[in-house]
Symmetry: C2
Subunit: 136 residues, 2 copies
Protein backbone atom coordinates (compact mmCIF):
# COMPACT_ATOMS: atom_id res chain seq x y z
CA UNK A 1 0.00 0.00 0.00
CA UNK A 2 1.32 3.46 -0.89
CA UNK A 3 0.62 6.74 0.85
CA UNK A 4 0.75 10.39 -0.09
CA UNK A 5 1.91 12.57 2.79
CA UNK A 6 2.29 16.32 3.05
CA UNK A 7 3.27 18.27 6.16
CA UNK A 8 2.44 21.95 6.08
CA UNK A 9 2.66 24.64 8.75
CA UNK A 10 -0.37 26.93 8.67
CA UNK A 11 -0.26 30.24 10.51
CA UNK A 12 -3.75 29.85 11.98
CA UNK A 13 -5.22 28.04 14.96
CA UNK A 14 -6.17 24.35 14.58
CA UNK A 15 -9.85 25.29 15.03
CA UNK A 16 -9.77 27.43 11.93
CA UNK A 17 -8.05 24.75 9.84
CA UNK A 18 -10.54 22.16 11.15
CA UNK A 19 -13.43 24.34 9.98
CA UNK A 20 -11.83 24.74 6.54
CA UNK A 21 -11.53 20.96 6.05
CA UNK A 22 -14.93 19.98 7.46
CA UNK A 23 -17.51 22.54 6.33
CA UNK A 24 -18.94 22.98 2.85
CA UNK A 25 -18.04 26.67 2.84
CA UNK A 26 -14.50 25.89 3.87
CA UNK A 27 -13.82 23.10 1.36
CA UNK A 28 -15.39 25.11 -1.48
CA UNK A 29 -12.75 27.77 -0.97
CA UNK A 30 -9.57 25.67 -1.13
CA UNK A 31 -10.31 22.39 -2.92
CA UNK A 32 -13.52 21.92 -4.86
CA UNK A 33 -15.92 24.71 -5.85
CA UNK A 34 -18.79 22.22 -6.28
CA UNK A 35 -18.94 20.65 -2.84
CA UNK A 36 -21.70 19.19 -0.73
CA UNK A 37 -20.31 18.54 2.74
CA UNK A 38 -21.33 18.31 6.38
CA UNK A 39 -19.16 18.00 9.48
CA UNK A 40 -21.11 14.91 10.53
CA UNK A 41 -19.87 11.37 11.08
CA UNK A 42 -21.23 9.04 8.38
CA UNK A 43 -22.26 11.85 6.04
CA UNK A 44 -21.18 11.31 2.43
CA UNK A 45 -19.47 14.44 1.11
CA UNK A 46 -19.69 14.92 -2.66
CA UNK A 47 -17.00 16.77 -4.60
CA UNK A 48 -17.61 17.42 -8.31
CA UNK A 49 -14.80 18.40 -10.68
CA UNK A 50 -16.31 18.74 -14.15
CA UNK A 51 -17.40 15.19 -15.04
CA UNK A 52 -15.58 13.61 -12.12
CA UNK A 53 -17.61 12.97 -8.99
CA UNK A 54 -15.93 12.04 -5.72
CA UNK A 55 -17.92 10.60 -2.85
CA UNK A 56 -16.15 10.64 0.49
CA UNK A 57 -17.76 9.28 3.64
CA UNK A 58 -16.82 11.11 6.83
CA UNK A 59 -15.31 8.34 8.97
CA UNK A 60 -13.47 10.37 11.58
CA UNK A 61 -14.11 13.73 13.25
CA UNK A 62 -12.18 14.94 16.25
CA UNK A 63 -12.71 18.71 16.56
CA UNK A 64 -9.49 20.66 16.14
CA UNK A 65 -7.50 17.44 15.82
CA UNK A 66 -8.40 15.01 13.08
CA UNK A 67 -10.67 14.50 10.09
CA UNK A 68 -10.90 11.29 8.07
CA UNK A 69 -12.74 10.43 4.88
CA UNK A 70 -13.15 7.12 3.09
CA UNK A 71 -13.44 7.28 -0.65
CA UNK A 72 -16.59 5.46 -1.82
CA UNK A 73 -16.64 6.63 -5.42
CA UNK A 74 -14.14 8.43 -7.66
CA UNK A 75 -11.59 7.39 -10.29
CA UNK A 76 -10.89 3.67 -9.92
CA UNK A 77 -7.52 4.13 -8.20
CA UNK A 78 -9.07 6.23 -5.43
CA UNK A 79 -11.88 3.87 -4.46
CA UNK A 80 -11.30 2.48 -0.97
CA UNK A 81 -8.49 4.93 -0.22
CA UNK A 82 -8.58 7.10 2.91
CA UNK A 83 -7.82 10.78 3.29
CA UNK A 84 -6.97 12.31 6.64
CA UNK A 85 -6.03 15.66 8.09
CA UNK A 86 -4.19 15.57 11.42
CA UNK A 87 -3.81 18.88 13.18
CA UNK A 88 -1.26 19.66 15.85
CA UNK A 89 -1.01 22.98 17.66
CA UNK A 90 2.42 24.63 17.44
CA UNK A 91 2.74 28.00 19.24
CA UNK A 92 -0.72 29.09 18.18
CA UNK A 93 -0.20 27.84 14.62
CA UNK A 94 -1.01 24.45 13.12
CA UNK A 95 1.12 21.64 11.83
CA UNK A 96 -1.12 19.88 9.32
CA UNK A 97 -0.26 16.30 8.44
CA UNK A 98 -2.20 15.35 5.32
CA UNK A 99 -2.36 11.69 4.30
CA UNK A 100 -3.97 9.99 1.31
CA UNK A 101 -3.53 6.32 2.19
CA UNK A 102 -4.42 2.95 0.76
CA UNK A 103 -3.19 3.34 -2.82
CA UNK A 104 -2.65 -0.12 -4.28
CA UNK A 105 0.41 0.99 -6.27
CA UNK A 106 2.67 3.94 -7.01
CA UNK A 107 1.44 4.80 -10.50
CA UNK A 108 1.61 7.84 -12.75
CA UNK A 109 -1.79 8.85 -11.34
CA UNK A 110 -0.37 8.60 -7.80
CA UNK A 111 2.55 10.89 -8.74
CA UNK A 112 0.20 13.33 -10.48
CA UNK A 113 -2.17 13.41 -7.49
CA UNK A 114 0.78 13.84 -5.12
CA UNK A 115 1.76 17.00 -7.00
CA UNK A 116 -1.80 18.34 -7.08
CA UNK A 117 -2.51 17.56 -3.41
CA UNK A 118 0.50 19.71 -2.49
CA UNK A 119 -0.92 22.62 -4.47
CA UNK A 120 -4.27 22.17 -2.72
CA UNK A 121 -2.51 22.12 0.66
CA UNK A 122 -0.95 25.43 -0.32
CA UNK A 123 -4.42 26.65 -1.24
CA UNK A 124 -5.77 25.54 2.17
CA UNK A 125 -2.86 27.30 3.89
CA UNK A 126 -3.55 30.44 1.91
CA UNK A 127 -7.29 30.32 2.72
CA UNK A 128 -6.60 29.99 6.45
CA UNK A 129 -3.89 32.66 6.49
CA UNK A 130 -5.27 35.24 4.06
CA UNK A 131 -8.93 34.34 3.50
CA UNK A 132 -8.37 33.37 -0.11
CA UNK A 133 -7.57 29.98 -1.69
CA UNK A 134 -7.38 28.55 -5.21
CA UNK A 135 -9.99 25.75 -5.48
CA UNK A 136 -10.78 23.84 -8.69
CA UNK B 1 13.07 2.66 1.09
CA UNK B 2 10.61 5.47 0.47
CA UNK B 3 10.29 7.68 -2.58
CA UNK B 4 8.86 11.09 -3.35
CA UNK B 5 7.29 11.23 -6.78
CA UNK B 6 5.70 14.12 -8.65
CA UNK B 7 4.40 14.03 -12.21
CA UNK B 8 3.94 17.41 -13.84
CA UNK B 9 3.04 18.39 -17.39
CA UNK B 10 5.12 21.35 -18.58
CA UNK B 11 4.06 23.24 -21.69
CA UNK B 12 7.58 23.44 -23.10
CA UNK B 13 9.81 21.09 -25.09
CA UNK B 14 11.92 18.52 -23.18
CA UNK B 15 15.10 20.33 -24.30
CA UNK B 16 14.04 23.45 -22.47
CA UNK B 17 13.17 21.58 -19.28
CA UNK B 18 16.46 19.67 -19.50
CA UNK B 19 18.35 22.96 -19.66
CA UNK B 20 16.45 24.30 -16.64
CA UNK B 21 17.40 21.27 -14.51
CA UNK B 22 21.03 20.97 -15.59
CA UNK B 23 22.50 24.46 -15.94
CA UNK B 24 23.41 26.82 -13.14
CA UNK B 25 21.34 29.61 -14.68
CA UNK B 26 18.35 27.30 -14.97
CA UNK B 27 18.44 25.87 -11.45
CA UNK B 28 19.01 29.33 -9.93
CA UNK B 29 15.70 30.44 -11.36
CA UNK B 30 13.40 27.73 -10.03
CA UNK B 31 15.05 26.03 -7.02
CA UNK B 32 18.06 27.56 -5.33
CA UNK B 33 19.30 31.11 -5.88
CA UNK B 34 22.78 30.20 -4.63
CA UNK B 35 23.73 27.41 -7.01
CA UNK B 36 26.99 26.19 -8.49
CA UNK B 37 26.17 23.62 -11.17
CA UNK B 38 27.50 22.20 -14.40
CA UNK B 39 25.82 19.82 -16.87
CA UNK B 40 28.77 17.45 -16.59
CA UNK B 41 28.83 13.84 -15.43
CA UNK B 42 30.66 13.54 -12.09
CA UNK B 43 30.50 17.27 -11.31
CA UNK B 44 29.36 18.05 -7.76
CA UNK B 45 26.62 20.67 -7.83
CA UNK B 46 26.35 22.81 -4.70
CA UNK B 47 23.07 24.31 -3.56
CA UNK B 48 23.12 26.70 -0.59
CA UNK B 49 19.98 27.63 1.33
CA UNK B 50 21.00 29.95 4.16
CA UNK B 51 23.11 27.74 6.44
CA UNK B 52 22.18 24.53 4.67
CA UNK B 53 24.55 23.31 1.99
CA UNK B 54 23.54 20.53 -0.39
CA UNK B 55 26.13 18.71 -2.48
CA UNK B 56 24.73 16.66 -5.33
CA UNK B 57 26.94 14.68 -7.68
CA UNK B 58 25.70 14.49 -11.26
CA UNK B 59 25.39 10.73 -11.82
CA UNK B 60 23.19 10.65 -14.91
CA UNK B 61 22.80 12.93 -17.92
CA UNK B 62 20.84 11.96 -21.00
CA UNK B 63 20.10 15.13 -22.98
CA UNK B 64 16.39 15.87 -23.20
CA UNK B 65 15.55 12.64 -21.35
CA UNK B 66 16.99 12.14 -17.88
CA UNK B 67 19.06 13.80 -15.17
CA UNK B 68 20.19 12.10 -11.97
CA UNK B 69 21.95 13.42 -8.88
CA UNK B 70 23.29 11.58 -5.86
CA UNK B 71 23.21 13.48 -2.60
CA UNK B 72 26.68 13.53 -1.02
CA UNK B 73 26.04 16.11 1.69
CA UNK B 74 22.91 17.77 3.10
CA UNK B 75 20.65 17.21 6.10
CA UNK B 76 21.26 13.72 7.46
CA UNK B 77 18.08 12.22 6.00
CA UNK B 78 19.07 13.28 2.48
CA UNK B 79 22.57 11.81 2.43
CA UNK B 80 22.77 8.92 -0.03
CA UNK B 81 19.37 9.68 -1.55
CA UNK B 82 18.99 10.14 -5.31
CA UNK B 83 17.08 12.77 -7.23
CA UNK B 84 16.04 12.29 -10.83
CA UNK B 85 14.15 14.11 -13.53
CA UNK B 86 12.73 11.96 -16.31
CA UNK B 87 11.41 13.82 -19.32
CA UNK B 88 8.95 12.41 -21.84
CA UNK B 89 7.78 14.30 -24.89
CA UNK B 90 3.98 14.61 -25.16
CA UNK B 91 2.71 16.50 -28.21
CA UNK B 92 5.49 19.05 -28.04
CA UNK B 93 5.13 19.40 -24.27
CA UNK B 94 6.92 17.53 -21.50
CA UNK B 95 5.74 15.05 -18.93
CA UNK B 96 8.23 15.44 -16.09
CA UNK B 97 8.54 12.57 -13.65
CA UNK B 98 10.43 13.81 -10.61
CA UNK B 99 11.72 11.27 -8.08
CA UNK B 100 13.57 11.71 -4.80
CA UNK B 101 14.44 8.13 -3.93
CA UNK B 102 16.30 6.25 -1.22
CA UNK B 103 14.72 7.75 1.89
CA UNK B 104 15.25 5.33 4.76
CA UNK B 105 11.85 6.11 6.31
CA UNK B 106 8.67 8.13 5.86
CA UNK B 107 9.27 10.81 8.49
CA UNK B 108 7.91 14.28 9.16
CA UNK B 109 10.87 15.64 7.19
CA UNK B 110 9.92 13.39 4.25
CA UNK B 111 6.34 14.74 4.31
CA UNK B 112 7.58 18.32 4.59
CA UNK B 113 10.02 17.86 1.70
CA UNK B 114 7.30 16.18 -0.37
CA UNK B 115 5.18 19.31 -0.02
CA UNK B 116 8.06 21.65 -0.82
CA UNK B 117 9.29 19.62 -3.82
CA UNK B 118 5.83 20.00 -5.36
CA UNK B 119 6.02 23.77 -4.98
CA UNK B 120 9.47 23.75 -6.62
CA UNK B 121 8.09 21.61 -9.47
CA UNK B 122 5.44 24.27 -9.95
CA UNK B 123 8.22 26.87 -9.94
CA UNK B 124 10.14 24.88 -12.59
CA UNK B 125 6.96 24.61 -14.68
CA UNK B 126 6.40 28.34 -14.36
CA UNK B 127 10.01 29.12 -15.33
CA UNK B 128 9.78 26.95 -18.46
CA UNK B 129 6.34 28.25 -19.45
CA UNK B 130 6.59 31.93 -18.54
CA UNK B 131 10.29 32.66 -17.94
CA UNK B 132 9.77 33.27 -14.23
CA UNK B 133 10.02 30.87 -11.26
CA UNK B 134 10.05 31.18 -7.47
CA UNK B 135 13.41 29.86 -6.20
CA UNK B 136 14.52 29.93 -2.55
Amino acid sequence: MAEIRHNVVIKAAPGKVYEAVTTQEGIEHWWCKQTTAKPELGFVNVFTFGKTRNEMKVTGLSPGKRVEWECLDAIEEWIGTRISFDLEERNGHTLLRFTHAGWRAVTDTFAECNYHWALFMKSLKSLCETGSGTPS
